[in-house]
Each structure stands twice: as C-alpha cells, then as structure tokens.
C-alpha cells in the first residue's frame, strides 16, 4: 500500500518545487515545504521515491545553496491546490488534507531563512521529524507484551466488516510465532457464524479459544477467557468483539461494559485501509467512547494509496501497529514508522 500515494505525491511535490523555483525572489524554507509534502509520503512503505529524476528535495537543496527565495501565497496556491487534490484522491479525509495543506502554506509563505553549510542535515532532519510526527511512533507489540505483566489483555474494536476476527487470528499467530502463549475470547456472539469462524482460525493456528453459544453476553465470554489465562499462566488474551457502528449507543454501551469487565491493557481499533472520509468520524468516535491505544489497518493489499492511515493517525493520534495485507495468517506487517521514514529519506537524499 501507499505506493500509489507516493507516486502522486512525487508528482505534486515536483510541481510544488517547480512553482517555488519559478519565484525568483529571495529565499525559501526548504524544510517546512518538504515536510508538508512529505507527511503523506511517509506512509509509503519501504518503496523508494527515486524513479523520477531530480526530486523535490534535490531542487530545494539547489535552491537553498544558490540563492534565496521568498515564497508568496500566490506563487504556491495553484500547486497547493494540486497537492490537496492528490491527497483527496488518495483517500486522505477532507479535514485532514485541509490541515496538512494549511500547515504547508503557513510554513512556506513568506519564510525567510539563511542557509549555509549543512543543508542536507537541515532538510533531512525536518523531513524526518515531520514524517514521524504524522505517523507517531509505531507500536511494537512484542516489546509491549515482554514488558507488561501477564496476561496482557488486548481488546479489538471496530465497525462491521473491517476484519477484526481475521486480525485477531493473525495477531494470535504472530504472537505464537514470537514464543508467547495465547488464548482467544470469542466475543462476537452476535453475527451468525462468527463463533465458528474464529473457532476454525484458532484450531488452525493451534490456539486455545474460549467461546459461549451465539447470543451470549460477550463480557462473560471475555471474562472467562481472562480467567482461563490467569489460571493457566497464558501470556496474552485476545478478545474479539462484534462489529458495531459508533452510532448505536446500546452497542457502544455494551463495548463499554466489556471494557469494564475485561480491563484491557490495550484497546486495538481495527479499520480498513480502503475506507474514505468516514474513517475519521468513526475512529474519533470509538476513541472518544471506549478509547483506542493502537490501530490496525486491514485490507492494505487492496489499496496502494493508504490515505486512511494518514487520516486516522492525524485524527486520533494513536500509533499504527499492524497492516493486514492478505488472507493468510502471515499476511500481517508490523508498522515501523522510523524504518519507513529511514527508507524514504535514504533514497531521497
């Protein structure tokens, strides 16, 4: 994922670069500029920006060394409009793209800066911090499990059809591979077939599962799972829940009850990478009502743009923990922003 976004941003950035270059005025603020253009790029996984000849960063560097520029709003407004379209086309929600564009604008317009020796460090540093700022720190689950009292209780939430159950199975397999014992609480007692679904997953990956019959109280199921973990010295409890819309206050209350009963160490909000503007609405609502400590984005293999990641990260400011990238149990990718940023900048500069 993010590949498409990266390409588009690349084009937009070049455009922005050109437009600034055209302004033969005085000086220009390389960092802010790049920074703002970047935040979107961050997501672009591993892939390198490369390809297109002189990157924006190069241009900026040249500019900085050779002469000074003052950027006026007029000079960049067109390019910014284009950048905004790019963001929107990549599913970055409207308010979020607005915020990003505004950020770029304030940072660019009228900026004056004397630039001398370490342009490189300046640009790279600014870029890096900007990228990390949007993406947060990432979330190392293995590290978390290692450093917290067992059993570590993890609750999964999200709206219908985002892939919670599959994600629970994948994370179960992931933790098992990392040497931890896991028990799953089949807390989706509502949807027909959900208990069977998670049951089959658990059996395939060889994990104990606690389940009641359809229609049971999910809090009770999950409570039992936690009890089981305590008495059998299991390391991690993964609690699946039924998908629910943030607009249904009774279901949200139920989730609240689950949280009270389970006292989770981690609440993981699951959403899909292909979601559009609604992603921010529901992420904010879930974060407000039951809280969220980390985010998993599923179906990242469907979409090369990844705007939802930016939208959600920007809206609730919680780290992205995993990307779901396919239908197999191994199709899960820990998300490490530092690494991503490193890769991006490494190729860029």
């Amino acid at each position: 994922m993010f590949g498409g976004l990266k390409e588009k941003l690349q084009a937009a950035r070049n455009r922005l670069g050109t437009s600034i270059q055209g302004v033969v005025a005085k000086q220009e603020p390389p960092s802010p500029e790049t920074r703002t253009a970047e935040p979107e790029t961050p997501l672009p996984q591993q892939k390198t920006i490369s390809s297109t000849a002189p990157t924006f960063v190069d241009k900026v560097k040249v500019l900085i060394i050779e002469r000074e520029l003052i950027v006026s709003e007029k000079d960049i407004s067109e390019a910014l409009a284009e950048l905004e379209m790019t963001l929107l086309e990549s599913d970055v929600a409207l308010p979020v793209s607005d915020a990003i564009i505004a950020h770029v604008r304030t940072n660019l317009v009228g900026k004056h800066r004397k630039i001398g020796e370490s342009v490189d460090a300046l640009v790279v540093g600014a870029l890096k911090s900007a990228l990390l700022e949007v993406l947060g720190k990432g979330f190392n689950l293995v590290e978390y499990v290692k450093t917290h009292a067992h059993p570590v209780k993890i609750l999964f939430t999200g709206v219908n059809g985002t892939g919670k159950t599959t994600t629970v199975a994948k994370i179960g397999a992931f933790l098992k591979k990392n040497g931890y014992t896991v028990v799953i609480g089949a807390g989706d007692t509502y949807r027909a077939g959900a208990i069977e679904q998670i049951g089959v997953h658990a059996e395939r990956i060889g994990i104990k599962i606690i389940q009641h019959q359809e229609g049971a109280d999910p809090s009770a199921v999950i409570f039992d799972a936690v009890q089981y973990a305590v008495s059998h010295k299991i390391d991690v409890v993964l609690a699946d829940t039924a998908g629910r819309f943030h607009t249904k206050s009774n279901l949200m209350n139920q989730l609240e009850k689950i949280r009270r009963v389970m006292k989770p160490d981690l609440i993981v909000y699951v959403d899909e990478a292909v979601a559009g503007n609604d992603a921010i609405v529901r992420a904010a609502e879930f974060d407000r009502t039951v809280g969220a400590d980390a985010v998993v984005l599923t179906k990242a293999d469907m979409d090369s743009r990844g705007g939802a990641a930016i939208s959600i990260a920007h809206t609730i400011g919680k780290p992205l923990m995993f990307l779901g990238t396919g239908q197999g149990y191994d199709d899960i990718m820990p998300f490490d922003p530092a690494q991503v940023v490193e890769d991006l900048l490494g190729s860029d500069t």
Binding site: M85, D91, G161, Q197, V274, D278, D303
Partner: protein, 441 residues
C-alpha cells in the same frame, strides 16, 4: 465537520438567493462548496471535477427560466446532474432469475444475500441461496443460520473447497426455486485467481444479475475496484451496505459511474429486514448533507397507519407527553431515532447526544410509565408533582427516578423541537426545495 460543510453549502446557496442575474463569483463559490461536500462524502475526485465543471457551465450558460430565481436555477442544475449520475433503470423484476453477489472482503455480501432472500420472499417468490464462499471459516454457518431464520433453503458444503463445484451442485439441487442468490467469497480486484473464479461462476450460473456490494465507507478505491469487477463480470447493479453508520456512500456513486449501472438496494441495519430499494432523492440529500423529508414521510407511511401519527406533528404546535407517546410508538416502527433524525433537514443543527440514547427497550418502559398517567398529565406534564410521580411510578411498576428520567427526556425533546422550529427559515426553505425537486424529475 460534515455539518459545517453542508452549512457552508447552504450559505453559498443563500448568497444566490436574492439574485436575479447569475453572479459568476457566487456560482464559483457554490461549485467549490459542492465539490467539498461531495469529496468528503467519498465521491471519486475526478468524477466530482467533471460534475462541477458541467454544473458551472450550465449555470452560467443556460437561460434563466422565467419565474425562477438564480438559486433555484442553480440548485435544479445541481440536482439534475446528480440524478443523471445515479439514475439508471434498475428494475427489480419478480420473475425466475439468478443473482450473483460480488464484492470486497467485509463489504457485507453474506448479510445482504440473506436480506435479499427475505426481500424476494416477502414479495411472494420461492427463493434459494447457494453459499459459494469456500474460504472464510464460518461463512456457511453464517448464511445457513440466517436462511434458517427465514425458511429459505441454503445449499453449501463447508468441507468442499471448490466454489465452482458447490455452485454446480447447488444449482442442481435448487432447480425448483424461482430465484437463486449465489453468495460468493470476498475478493478484491488485484487477486487474479479469485477474479478468474468469479468469471467462471458467472459463466456457470448464467446469472441474470451481477450485483456489486459496496460498503458505504469505501473511499476513492471504489472506482478502481468497480471498474475491475465490471471488466470481469459486467456488473449491472450496485448495493450499498452499512448506510446506518455515518458514511455517506459516495464510493457507490463512483462505482455506479464506473459500471454504468444503477444502485439497486441500500442496506441500513443489522436485521434481516433492513434493506430498502434505492431512492435517488434521499441518497443525494445525504451526499450533500441536506435532509430528505420525502423519504422519511414515505417510510412513515409504510410503517404506520395514517391516523397513527403525523410525522410533521413534531414540527408544529404544542408538544405534549401525549405527542411523545405516539411518536415513540411510531419511531419504534420506523427504526432508530438517529436514523430518522438523519433524514430530517437539519444538517446544520446539533442535537444533544442524549436524545439518541433512548433505546427501544427504554421506549417500551417510557410507554408503560405514560400509560399510568392521567389524560390531564399527558396534556400538561407540568402538573406532575412529587406525589403524582409516586403514584405514576407505583402504577407502572417503576421507580420515581425512572419517571423523572422520562420527564427529563421529554423536556430535552421539547427543547430540541423548539430549537428546530425556531431554527430560522433555513431548514424550511430546504424542505420546500427538496419538495420542489421531487416534483421536478
């Protein structure tokens, strides 16, 4: 945030209100706001650009019809352009046919399959379902449980891994049903082998309809996915699911434009009855963040007998406990309060959260409590003193706290509605406009 958007759209419209000559700047502004409204509803960006270009050109070029003002003129164009986009004939015929369901993972195909089965069953058809999802564990359990609830035969075999084989056997075993719905596994356009599978399923079933199920929250990716599905199996209808959330369903619009088909059904709830035929007026209103009284009233008519309640009672005159009683009863039949409220033209006003917090069980309690009140009390709740409250509570088997809660809720409703009424001309203009629109197409 969407509220802000539709407000700005309304502001832009307001600016056009008094004008008799088309003002280029005002039209530009309106078009810009329109773009933002549509984009934040997840309509494909390119589509929005084309659309707004057409609207701008038409608004500026076309002769202002006699007797209309600029605002009406522009709004009419906006509406016509949008309808042109979503409006394709999607007749659902009640005759023997085979329907093949397609869509991304988690878009709601299985649930929708059951809802469709129920829909056609209610129309008097003999329906059968084939579960061709051989991948997701529990898929067969899910669909067979749902089908059992409505007494629809469901063919499937969780042990078999070959969807083609299951479907062939399923078609064989369901020869005597009139309408077969084939539920398939979720897939996306980049999974070549799965796309090949659905092509083969399409050939095998000779499906009358191939409907694409789209999650209302699907973003810009909708166009691309729909295009690929369309290339593979020639999609002839789109179903939007999960419209009971806050998503606007703009992705479905992109899908429709891409497949040159129309929106057939809308799924908006978790129960098997929550499926409606598509109604362009309501959908467009929602996209633009403007309310749609028409759909609400229609829905009300369906759910309630005429003498039961006048939905517009909410909007007019005195609001007593008695009104609330009938409304609670009526609303109960129509669906969750929030859903109803979403359809009312008041996008620019915020309702207190508490208004929505009345779940159906609570509504039942409230009605029981109100049953213990005297007619006088129902007409004038201010009569209720603490001794009366005790009496009501005893009569209803409730605690005085519950009675107090009910009165609090009543006051909140009353305040809200007062706010609605007093909320300025905006909403009513909007209401009139929407009405006018519905007369125009």
């Amino acid at each position: 945030m969407l509220d802000n958007l539709s407000t700005s759209l309304k502001d832009a419209l307001k600016k056009l209100a008094g004008k008799t000559v088309i003002d280029r700047a005002a039209v530009d502004e309106l078009v810009k706001d329109l773009q933002r409204a549509l984009i934040s509803s997840d309509v494909n960006v390119k589509l929005v650009m084309d659309l707004s270009k057409a609207i701008r050109t038409r608004s500026l070029d076309e002769q202002l019809p006699k007797g209309t003002n600029v605002r009406e003129h522009v709004l009419r164009i906006v509406y016509q352009e949008l309808v042109r986009l979503v409006w394709a004939s999607t007749d659902v015929k009640l005759e023997p046919q085979t329907i093949l369901m397609a869509g991304l993972q988690g878009s709601g195909k299985t649930t929708t399959t059951a809802k469709l089965a129920r829909y056609f069953q209610k129309k008097g058809m003999k329906v059968g379902v084939i579960c061709a999802d051989t991948f997701r564990p529990g898929a067969y359990d899910q669909i067979s449980t749902l089908c059992a609830k409505i007494n629809v035969p469901c063919y499937g075999n969780p042990q078999e891994k070959d969807a083609i084989k299951i479907t062939r056997e399923g078609l064989e075993s369901q020869k005597d049903v009139e309408l077969v719905i084939v539920d398939t596994q979720g897939r996306h356009a980049l999974e070549a082998d799965l796309i090949q599978e659905i092509i083969e399923l399409n050939i095998l079933t000779k499906a009358t309809h191939r409907w694409l199920v789209i999650d209302a929250a699907l973003g810009q990716q909708a166009s691309e996915q729909a295009r690929r599905f369309h290339e593979a199996i020639d999609i002839d209808g789109v179903i939007i699911t999960k419209m009971d959330g806050t998503a606007k369903g703009g992705g479905a619009l992109s899908a429709v434009a891409e497949t040159k088909s129309g929106i057939v059904f809308i799924g908006s709830g978790e129960t098997i009855e929550d499926l409606e035929r598509f109604n362009p007026d309501g959908f467009i209103s929602r996209l633009l963040g403007m309310g749609d009284l028409k759909a609400l009233v229609e829905r009300a008519e369906e759910a309630i007998k005429a003498e039961d309640v006048d939905v517009n009672a909410m909007m007019k005159g005195k609001f007593t406990l008695r009104d609330m009683y009938t409304q609670l009863e009526a609303l109960n039949k129509m669906g969750p309060l929030k859903q109803i409220m979403g359809m009312l033209p008041m996008g620019n006003m915020q309702l207190p959260d508490g208004v929505y917090d009345v779940t159906s069980t609570k509504m039942v309690r409230y009605r029981i409590i109100m049953d213990s009140m005297t007619p006088g009390e129902l007409d004038d709740p201010s009569l209720i003193s603490s001794s009366r409250m005790q009496r009501i509570a005893r009569g209803a088997g409730a605690s005085p706290d519950e009675v107090r809660e009910l009165l609090k809720y009543y006051k909140m409703m009353q305040r809200t509605l007062k706010g609605l009424r007093g909320g300025g001309g905006g909403k009513f203009n909007m209401q009139r406009l929407m009405k006018r629109f519905s007369g125009m197409q």
